[in-house]
Amino acid sequence: MDFKTILGRAKRGLREELRLYLVAVSSLAVAFLCVAGVLLAVTNLSAVAERWGRSGRMSVYLRDGAQPDDVTRLRVVLEGMREVESVEQLTSEDARRQFLEHSDVEADLAALPPEVFPASLEVSLAEGTSVQRVASISERIGSLRAVDDVETYRGWFDRLDGLLSAGRGIAGVLALLVALCVLAVIGNTIRLAVARRREEIEVMKLCGATDGFVRGPFVMEGTFQGFASALVAVLVLLLGFALLRGHLDASLAALSGTHVAFLQPWMLVALVLGGAAIGALGSALSLRRYLTV
């Protein structure tokens, strides 16, 4: 079979059905944009989650009026642990100052007395300390006399993790829906194209064209539509990202200490190739139903 001839026919088909295909591609680009957008959100969310998970941190809040001796002993215990990298003591006054620095709060909050902010030992843990280990350390330390409470930030992390798996779920469902929608739209477009080109299909078959020769151009046209839609979606997302990046970056950095990231290159490639593959599948399925060769 002659690939060049088939490609030539596909190009011609694209030219002749340009309006039809433009409509299909633009609506499919919107669908792909939704998937790409959710993927982008998930990517950034998981970057935050990973950072939080990695930066093992623990705040050991000291009881009001804890004896300096007890606090020193506590420090020694903590520093003796393998997982502990550093321990920093934060007085009530330090805590108040840090809080005021990090948040744009109103003046009346600034008037709060230092006692509201408990003194603490800020413990940073070695990377990769397991969740169970953090929990057992927290339990052991929590029973000591000078300790009021231990915050492992586990709750926050759990919540973010939940959000992340919800995001992944949504992305998965959305991707499936979009795939079906693309299949349907491209299938329909190809069906229309087949109907419009009945005449030439009949002529080609009477002249002895094989199945592949008749179907080939339509499959290529479907593939191209899927490819073009996904590509347009990626480009639009990239443009939006470039425009909003500065804005997003500032808020995300303040919130979590990470920078916004775009989709990984392999994700972009997968999206565009996936679009092409679904386009090919959609046209092939449509041809099976509407083109009896």
């Binding site: 079979m1 001839t5 005449e199 078959k205 009477l206 002895g208 199945d211 020769f213």
Partner: protein, 275 residues
């Protein structure tokens, strides 16, 4: 382009690859044989009932009969639009009915088919309409160009390749269809009422065109119910009525009074001879 009828024209895709070309008797064998062919579209009423027919290489034959007699069906069985229910159709000695669906395109590459409604692609140029038959064969572009030009010249459309086909007159469009049918140099041309949509003057032109093609060695089966056309020529006539071949003799014109009868009642001429 003029060839001896017996010369071995190299076919781009011989569906009968094995045998025929190497068999010295092939050239003398009939090109098309119907053996007791039955075709049923309805269970109780066969459209063709027991058709026996032999078409020799290089023949020009009219297929005629009243409307609904089964002329189109007869031709459609040859190019496998339909398949016989019983019996055999041998094209170059090969049973067409037993071809697998995948082989049907290769059968059709050895046939040239022309229809009453032209079946040209109206928004294509004349050139494209003819070239498509060669592109299907994956023929190199240069060769396509020269062979299309040659075919257009043979049908009297030299130099009109770049025109949009829908701008041509009916007679010219049918010439485009004929050019497409002959450009691959098929062994057999099936023409199903090719003059049905044309006025009598143009009909003669197209008939003459087919005769010129026949003169170069191509076998032509020409279905028509236009007896005034048949009466003007001395070709073999295959009459079909109610699914049977009722008459197969040469030269309606050679029978005394045939022309008058044909003019007054198209069918009577045939039955008079058959009876």
């Amino acid at each position: 382009m003029a060839r001896d009828p017996d010369s071995k024209v190299v076919r781009p895709f011989a569906f009968f690859r094995a045998g025929v070309q190497s068999d010295p008797s092939a050239a003398r064998r009939p090109i098309l044989v119907f053996e007791d062919v039955y075709k049923y579209f309805r269970r109780d009423q066969p459209t063709l009932r027991g058709v026996n027919l032999t078409i020799e290489r290089g023949e020009f034959a009219f297929v005629t009969g009243p409307s609904g007699a089964g002329k189109s069906t007869l031709l459609q069985l040859v190019y496998r639009k339909h398949t016989v229910d019983t019996g055999r159709i041998l094209f170059c000695g090969k049973d067409v009915a037993r071809l697998k669906p995948k082989s049907i395109p290769y059968l059709r590459r050895n046939l040239g088919i022309v229809f009453q409604d032209f079946k040209v692609v109206r928004h294509w140029t004349v050139y494209e309409n003819v070239a498509v038959a060669l592109e299907i064969l994956a023929m190199p572009k240069r060769l396509v160009r020269s062979r299309v030009a040659e075919a257009l010249e043979r049908v009297g459309l030299a130099g009109r390749g770049s025109e949009r086909t829908e701008n041509l007159s009916g007679g010219e469009q049918q010439r485009v269809a004929v050019a497409r049918a002959i450009v691959t140099e098929p062994a057999l041309i099936l023409a199903d009422e090719p003059t049905g949509n044309l006025d009598p003057h143009l009909a003669i032109d197209i008939l003459t065109l087919f005769e010129e093609i026949n003169a170069t060695g191509t076998t032509v089966l020409f279905a028509t119910h236009d007896h005034s056309l048949i009466a003007k020529r001395d070709h073999r006539i295959i009459g079909i009525d109610e699914g049977r071949v009722v008459e197969a003799r040469t030269g309606l014109r050679s029978w005394p009074g045939a022309e008058e009868r044909a003019a007054s009642d198209p069918a009577s001429g045939l039955h008079a001879v058959a009876g």
